[in-house]
Amino acid sequence: MLKNWADRLFKWYCNPDFYPDIKGDLEEIYSDHLEKSEKLAQWKYLIDVALLFRISLLRPITQYPIIKDTGMFRNYFKISVRNLARHKMFTGINVIGLAIGLAGFLLINEYIRFERSYDSFHEDVDQIYRVSYVQVINGEDGDKDAMSSYLVGSVLNEELPEIIQHTVSKKFDPMILKNGNVFFKESGIISADSNFLKLFNYQVIQGSKETFLNEPNSIVLSRSRAKAYFGDEDPMGKTLQVTTNYKATLKVTGIIEDLPDNTHYRFDMMISDKTLDGTHDYENWSYNNYYVYLKTAPGVDVSMLDDKVYAATGKFIDGEDADVNNRTRLDIHPIRDIHLKSDFYFNPQPLGSQKAITFLVIISIFIITIAWVNYINLSTARAMDRAKEVGLRKVIGAFRTQLIIQFLCEAFLINLVGAIVALAIAEISLPYFNLLVDKVIVDHVWNHQPFLVSLVVFSVGGTIASGFYPALVLSDFKPIAILKGKFHNSKKGVALRRGLVIAQFAASMVLVAATFIIYLQINFMIGKDIGLSVDKVVNVLIPEDDYEDEEGRQAFLNRFNSFKESLRSHSAIETVGGTSNVPGGDENDINSTTSAVSIVGLSDRLEGTTYVQFTDDQFFDAVDMDFYAGKNFDRSIKRDTVSVVVNKSFLERFNVADIEDLLGEKMQFGKKETNRKYTIIGIVNDINRTSLKTEVEPTIYLPWMNADNLVIELNDINYLAGIEHLENTWKDFYPDAPLDITYLDERFASLYDQDKRFGDTFLVFALLAILVAILGLFGLSSFLSIQRSKEVGVRKVLGATKTQIVAIFYKDFFVLIAVSVLIGSPIVYFLMNSWLDNYAYRIDFPWWMLVIAGALISVFALATVGYQTSKVASLDPAKTLKYE
């Protein structure tokens, strides 16, 4: 035993040139020793073998492969290549199908990998959390606001030993920054304190991360933004002017590397927290306008901290005697889960959607399965062709394993070629794919390791998934039956093939119907009457001035008012209104308060969020908002602080029979009797200020006659003249500031960009899936019709017409398509109905869509089948029956 083992070892490493005679020597010595004791002889043999392991006796690596028996493999390979080259249609359909399937599957996978990678690059990411305000109403979580108030971080850090670090950051509205005459509108500006980079380890290029955010009016730029403003100059110590929001001059104190795309809190610039000293409302625990991040000690389970957190902060937020069921809860959310697994409002940037990811996973699995099924179907359908070959091989003495290896080898070759083509397709289509999902997932796939690993795994996996069953079936034929000519397609095989075709077309039908439904919903949202008319309405933001005293303020206001008057004087400009929040923004683009609200003397305090917008008297007119009852603000009342216009949803919460009765009543926020009372002077109809994913919000409109976000309604016909007038007037009044005109209809349309992208992605991959399925059906129908060519011949001889023959073929496939539509329909319903539920305003499930999708699939399928069958049906029976 020992000897055998030693010998195998020796044979493995020894130079084959030397092996025979040395082995002979060893044997001779062994038999000499054998006379004394077998055990001794074996051990000596082993020792000799061990001592023979010398460089001069080793097998040269290049000259002789380690595996010696390559003969059969070469044969399998050769036969496979010949087979594949001979059946070009079979090979082509499979390679193209697999390549498309793999490329689509892997690209989607890459996107999903990217979406799941959000924030995972931070050091100690599992210890970093964001603190958010969650309204608890009657014991249940109500509105969840991603933001917190300023002191939450430092109080928790002081009171809880489990928390070792905190930082507070504010995300600014877009600002225009200027260096000389270079200016840009920047939407990625945040404030940061000196702890920020201790939690988030972004790479610092210039400046010291310990100190560069310590002084007021300091700004740290990303590398590419620094280049945009300063070119190749050294930006350190240079200054940038803020022309909007905060009038300030900021000194560049540091440069950081550009942030990766996959973080939930992306920014290009950090302004030191101390710059905002004057504007911070530190003590106000209801002023939740900051993103607060915490870092815990390693191994801390934050779910155990809830009580401690409440003990430390509850007294500040809700007071000592707060009702546990109606309070604010601080939610500590791991940052890694923010992008896909959180449902907060007021996010710094749009989140990803777990649901979209799930849908994409489904598509990707569909698409690759369809491709694999093609291989199974086509290769088992070819069983008749291969049966004789198998029979003959078996007669000559092939083992079944060898036949299995032979067929697997073919499957592997097809998968390999498919994988190479898939890599090429993926690389070429990557830029378009990045456009489709509007993110740069990766720059290239050919050198992206995870992609290549998946490619190899799935092409090998695909070989086994798709190749194993056909290999088993084909190698199982009984040679006697075959060679006697008594071979028939097995019933089981036919049933399986039918099942697979049904599955393919059910999947295709699901994708088609889903795509249609997504587009229907998007069109519904874009076309729905939202209570506003924003056609030919534009928005400009008035630059803030750097006034220091009342006089400066007056001068600013005078200029502002004469600017508005000058606009109004032109015939092409209908209305000029002002507001704090322009309609058509994202769901965060609004103010809100979570103070309980009551109608004085008529109602109890009502918990929940109230949304607040500040507007002047012209705003409602500019966007065509209708008054349900009451009247507009009165411009002649200077500094009106008591009037309020509310929307219908706001009043409907109070459960009164007729909301008009509330007109003229007073409303009040909070608990204190002394809080300001507002008189409800007007009620407007509900409008949807943002996407139709959200319900109409209970909103109040407070008067602000000098609202600086202008909403300008242009004349429908000569609106271009209006724009020109706006541009000229702007130059007269604000020559230093860049003019940035936004069209409100575009603003509303862009709300659905994400949905449209989702629809487009779905469409592309649904088309690819159908293409692959049709390819498969094309191949399958051609094999089946050729196999039935004799039957067709007999039928023709007996008088069947071509139409009748095609109809016979159609009958089979039509049944399959019908069954797949039947199976697909409920799947479509469950998937898409739950998708539609994401939207506050959704279409009813369009049942007729199932019919359309089914009809479309049938047309595609029957056209494919028809082409093949009519070809066979027109063959001359004399030819097909010649050899019978």
Binding site: F18, D21, G24, E28, I29, S56
Partner: protein, 112 residues
């Protein structure tokens, strides 16, 4: 620079191949060395020396008969080449030279 690369063990193996003349195959060489020099020789050390010297051109080899005792494997007979003979002679000359150069006195001292 050395003219011939010949180690001590190699020289012994090479000489033994010469001694055995026509019968110099692995086991025979091994036994011969073990008998004459009364030292243990491992197959590995000897074989690697043989192959090395064959590569250097000191030895030539041919395959011989096979028998059952050898598990059906052939013997490989080695013979010294002319070049091998030169190497041996060179080695011997060097030693003789050295012997001759030793002053008599070096040995005499021992007799005191």
């Amino acid at each position: 620079m050395k003219k011939f690369q010949l180690g001590e063990f190699e020289e012994i193996v090479l000489l033994t191949v010469g001694v055995l003349y026509d019968e110099a195959y692995g086991v025979a060489i091994k036994n011969e060395i073990e008998n004459r020099l009364e030292r243990k020789v491992s197959v590995g050390a000897m074989q690697s020396a043989l192959r090395r010297m064959e590569k250097k051109g000191f030895l030539d080899s041919r395959l011989g008969e096979m028998n059952k005792k050898r598990g059906g494997k052939p013997k490989r007979y080695f013979t010294i080449t002319a070049f091998g003979k030169q190497a041996l002679e060179y080695s011997k000359d060097v030693r003789t030279d050295l012997w001759n150069s030793i002053p008599e006195i070096a040995f005499d001292l021992k007799l005191v």
